[in-house]
Symmetry: C2
């Protein structure tokens, strides 16, 4: 069914009233944490490294350094640092340290290194592969009190901040100066900039602004032995010696602890539009994407895809529904630019052409802030729906576009009646697929049926087993699927060089 | 003087006829090489590392591997590999090897490593800091025969090619597919992609597409011991283990020899415009830049500045002149987008507003390909002018914008009558200044008067002594000005780990 854009717009209003009526059943993080998973060390049969245990003498040092208020040792207070946000992992840390300054981090690491105490650096603890969750009794170094914005050059857009700044807070601060952070993701209300950089987080703006390797200008990092590395360049071009900062981007805290970050922020767009489209099949999704790049590349900010099972989940579990009726596939396109009228014209012409060519079946478009947010909520709240659909195996793949949805089809066939549903959605514009599988209840048999098949299939399709979430704890054992032995050897040599005692985030990344 | 855009356009035509009349005195690379500089080892008093010399037994191996035709040993043929393009450096290599495949590079390095023969990887040999020029008798490994495009995914824009592909050839190949390489620079007709990546080359498109750390998706690298590292991911998002490829971007061939590169190319813009403006002072240049970002950020591709001495040089030495008359400062703005009409409207509105606010005094704008090229030639041919202005000390700085031109003023004052002229021009949009100083004749006294003063002043202004050209041979001794001892220690440890015998491009980067 084709509708005019005016007609489409009415649909958005219906949709909005549905959201505001409170049908949405958003699940808070707190709720998740009320039930406790088993200890990771038992679930995964991990052998503890040869590290010291935290003793009274260590506690004495930490208390002297940070005072009582910046140390957590109470068992119930420790839970939120020990359990990951979707309750699949549980560490046994007995102490969380909350430094405020780089010097404190330096002293902590120097002490831990000398005393062979393993540490687990932790940001907003929003990761989904357990990179920031302790496995045994690692000393958790939380960056939550390292949340100061150090400087902003409004003209050049260069922001320098401490690693514990929350992404959303930073972006709101930047909004006041007509700037935008070059990264946006669902967990923005909790995740820390340092964690984002440590995991080379991707998210929603990669299509427009590129990845963090291109956007991070400088870092301050504390090495395992406590030595502070000042790599805090604030220049867009700086070709002096090896680009050490890039070594820490995506190293998941296994090579050093990030304390400060300098980022190239961008001009905040004056005009933002969102289109929400219904499509017949995945082939048309690809055609629409290619046409979108041809027709309006410079204003394209996001190109997201959602399949029917995912939309059904959002509808059933969160009470939200598609504003344009039911279609096999949905696409969310965001544009941003400097001229409202130009952007609207481009988007309108593109959509009309897509309708004419039968690439899309229906669609709605808006430039109003409230309505934009409501459409984005459909995409961003998807993870909250999973928390209500039994046990969900969550994956984050990267695939060549022609293979993107093949993996979802394959997994649906492979799972048969074993799964409740197989979901495919994600940042199609970057080739990034989130493939989730819900089952009635977790069993080791189902887990074995899924893994390593799903990763092997991904590699078969020339994809990556981790697009934007990193290897963390959960995926580290599959590193060999992605990297050659020669590459892994170099990684291990770097790790050994940077952290000879192996105290930094053990059991992660390289396993 | 304010002129209407129609009037401005006439100016461009006059300017074009001037260029096509042959007044331009382009200096070819060949011409430069007719005179020979002194040997670098003598000029700079360098001590040769403890490497073997190339003997008959080594020649025998290389001949067997590559055949006679892919080895250069003739003294006169060796010159172009031994002398850098602006004739300030001269190595004494006795052999140049021209492998075609990764496996050949692997065998060469394995052999050189076992025999303790130092090597100098060389691309198009267009660098200006001597990164690709041998210092003593290093074995030159030229990538000039490694020039195959391996694959192009036209839909995703991912190109994979051998390291020796010439930038311009690749960009022309991409143009046929409506794609564009995310890098452009003056030496594009000669420089190799591998050299670009090894030096983290910047150039003209960084403002729009970001740097190579963001755009290179994957690399194939041969390590010092001949082991091939397959880091050739072609995915936009791939977070599996340490991002090793970034370690080689900008490492100037001191950590490994690049053999293949995968790059994220972009949609070729349908509409390109260039504006050439005259301004009263540098303060107005900055105001114009900030307004430009506000008014048309998404279509801004380049923002270049040229000062009066530089324009005078271009006029005097190359017979080219400003199409808008004489002004203290000139700005070249390039926009690119998907809609001709929209881009024109944005640019017109921006220029009108700048005229009204007195940010700019005059200007000309064009969207015609021939005229675009003619205006760009004014900027791109500047380096050719220097070759005719006595001896020229050439620098490539990065500075916070508020300090950008202070360094030029300082150097003018510092040089007094010692210099003929001090020139300031560059990629202002990235904070990248090319500061050149011409003198009647090179003397060690003048060199000492300039250096290290110019670098210390740059650091005083929170800048970088190398924005886009790297450290190479010439700047390596100033690494300590830019990096902390802790950072240099880490760099040295990485070098030692990756190249224990130090055979890869000695005397470069880390000195």
């Amino acid at each position: 069914m084709r509708v005019t854009f005016r007609k489409m717009f009415k649909n958005v209003c219906t949709f909005l009233s549905c959201i505001s009526s409170g049908k949405s059943g958003a699940l808070t993080l707190k709720k998740c944490l009320h039930s406790k998973p088993n200890f990771t060390k038992n679930n995964y049969n991990i052998i503890r490294g040869n590290y010291s245990h935290v003793e009274e003498e260590h506690l004495y040092y930490f208390r002297k350094l940070l005072g009582e208020t910046r140390i957590v040792t109470d068992l119930s207070d420790l839970e939120k640092y020990n359990v990951d946000w979707h309750k699949s992992l549980r560490g046994g840390s007995t102490i969380v340290l909350k430094p405020k300054t780089t010097e404190e981090v330096s002293k902590i690491l120097s002490f831990c290194n000398s005393n062979r105490l393993a540490v687990c650096p932790q940001g907003g603890h929003t990761g989904v592969v357990g990179g920031g969750t302790p496995v045994f009794d690692e000393v958790v170094i939380s960056t939550e009190l390292m949340n100061e914005i150090i400087s902003l050059d409004e003209k050049s857009g260069v922001l320098t901040c401490q690693a514990g700044c929350i992404l959303q807070n930073v972006d709101e601060y930047l909004a006041e100066k007509n700037l935008v952070f070059p990264l946006d993701l669902g967990a923005k209300g909790s995740c820390h900039i340092g964690g984002n950089v440590s995991t080379n987080a991707g998210g929603l703006r990669v299509l427009k602004y590129g990845n963090l390797h291109g956007n991070v200008l400088g870092l301050e990092v504390v090495q395992a032995n406590g030595v502070i590395l000042d790599l805090l360049s604030t220049l867009k071009k700086d070709n002096t010696g090896y680009h050490l900062k890039n070594l820490f981007i995506g190293a998941e805290g296994t090579l050093g602890v990030l304390t400060k970050v300098a980022v190239q922020c961008r001009q905040r767009p004056k005009s933002v539009h969102v289109a929400f489209l219904g499509l017949q099949n995945f082939h048309q999704v690809l055609k629409t994407f290619y046409k979108c790049k041809q027709d309006m590349d410079e204003i394209l900010t996001a190109f997201e895809v959602i399949d029917t099972p995912t939309m059904t989940l959002v509808n059933e579990k969160l009470g939200m529904q598609s504003p344009i009726g039911d279609y096999p596939f949905y696409v969310l396109i965001e544009t941003s630019g400097s001229n409202e009228e130009h952007d609207q014209e481009k988007l309108d012409a593109f959509l009309k052409s897509c309708l004419l060519k039968n690439f899309i079946l229906n669609g709605t478009v808006t430039g109003e802030v409230g309505k934009l947010k409501a459409i984005w909520a459909l995409r961003e709240k998807i993870p909250q729906g999973f928390a209500k659909d039994g046990y969900v195996f969550m994956y984050d793949m990267s695939l060549p576009l022609h293979n993107y949805y093949k993996l979802v089809d394959d997994m649906r066939e492979h799972m048969g009646k074993l799964s409740h549903r197989v979901f495919g959605f994600g940042h199609l514009g970057d080739g990034n697929l989130h493939l989730n599988i819900s089952v009635q209840k977790y069993t080791p048999e189902i887990a074995k049926h899924i893994e390593p098949f799903i990763f092997e299939r991904t590699v078969h399709y020339k994809g990556s087993v981790s697009a934007e979430h990193g290897m963390g704890f959960l995926k580290s054992k599959y590193l060999g699927l992605m990297k050659s032995q020669e590459s892994i050897n170099v990684m291990r040599n770097i790790k050994k060089m940077m952290d000879p005692n192996g105290i930094l985030n053990p059991y992660k990344t390289l396993g």
